[in-house]
Amino acid sequence: MPESAHSLSIPSATQHLTKVRRFVEKHAHEARLGEEAIAHIKMAVDEACANIIEHAYDNARQKISVFVMVDSERFTVCIRDQGRSFHPESWSEPNLFKIAESRRGGGLGVQIMRSLMDQVEYTTQGNMNEVRLTKFRSGRPGRNGGKTA
């Protein structure tokens, strides 16, 4: 059972990303996480939401739900959408030099999530997609045991 749980719902538009960052930052501070862990969580959540806005919803105005759950072992953020599903098995680590050669930015969001969080898990049930980002309080090694499931 989580010791505390909080939720936020935003329209899927980039102008609301600041609000999401502030939301997770506030609860991570309340959970007494370290500054580095807070910065990592904030960025990973930002990347997850930005990916949903661009790829799951194709910039159409829909809803994104963000849930923060805190217990004695971990700080977890679940982000839900009802757009196009992401298939982590089709993802491969981007090559910076190739991205630069192609003169397109982009493609770094998933790598950032994996690098910054201890666990990144994707699930889809019916028309609901969820990405679950976990940071262990013990700071257990993990540079993402980075499992993307």
Binding site: T14, L17, E35, E36, A50, F97, A100, R104, G109, I112
Partner: protein, 136 residues
């Protein structure tokens, strides 16, 4: 009189991010301030687009007041770096705060970009590059 031209023309004051322009001889310096994310990134794109239109290919991005950067912001640097280098210039990144530098470092950006501690160092490097070209 210093080399410095008129201080600040600013793009984008509607958000918590802005880009200020300065010039130092042939170098264009972009002062980033605030939080650069998928929403505010269009302001950085506009700034680099303006450099391209003005044929300024020697660019220093001063990140001393950049508090946050997401992959959207990082992607813009990646989108322009090859073009600037092909035109004989570069994008050098200077003065990043530790938390922002850590993100660049984590993703391996120091392999691709010239990232230095201070703007002055970036200017010296551009000056040295120019001298080398003139000498050769």
């Amino acid at each position: 009189m210093g080399r410095r031209e008129k201080p600040h023309e600013t793009i984008g004051n509607m958000s918590n991010f802005s880009v200020g322009f300065r010039a130092e001889a042939h170098i264009r310096i972009l002062d980033l301030k605030g939080e650069l994310d998928a929403h505010t990134v269009s302001e950085l794109e506009a700034a680099l687009q303006k450099c391209r239109e003005d044929k300024n290919h020697h660019i220093i991005v001063n990140g001393a007041h950049l508090q946050y950067i997401s992959s959207a912001g990082l992607g813009v640097f990646m989108a322009y770096i090859e073009e600037m280098r092909e035109a004989g210039g570069d994008i050098k990144i200077a003065g990043l705060q530790a938390n922002v530098y850590n993100i660049f470092d984590l993703l391996g950006f120091p392999l691709l970009f010239d990232i230095v501690k201070a703007e002055e160092e970036a200017i010296r490097k551009f000056d040295a590059d120019r001298k080398d070209k003139n000498d050769s």
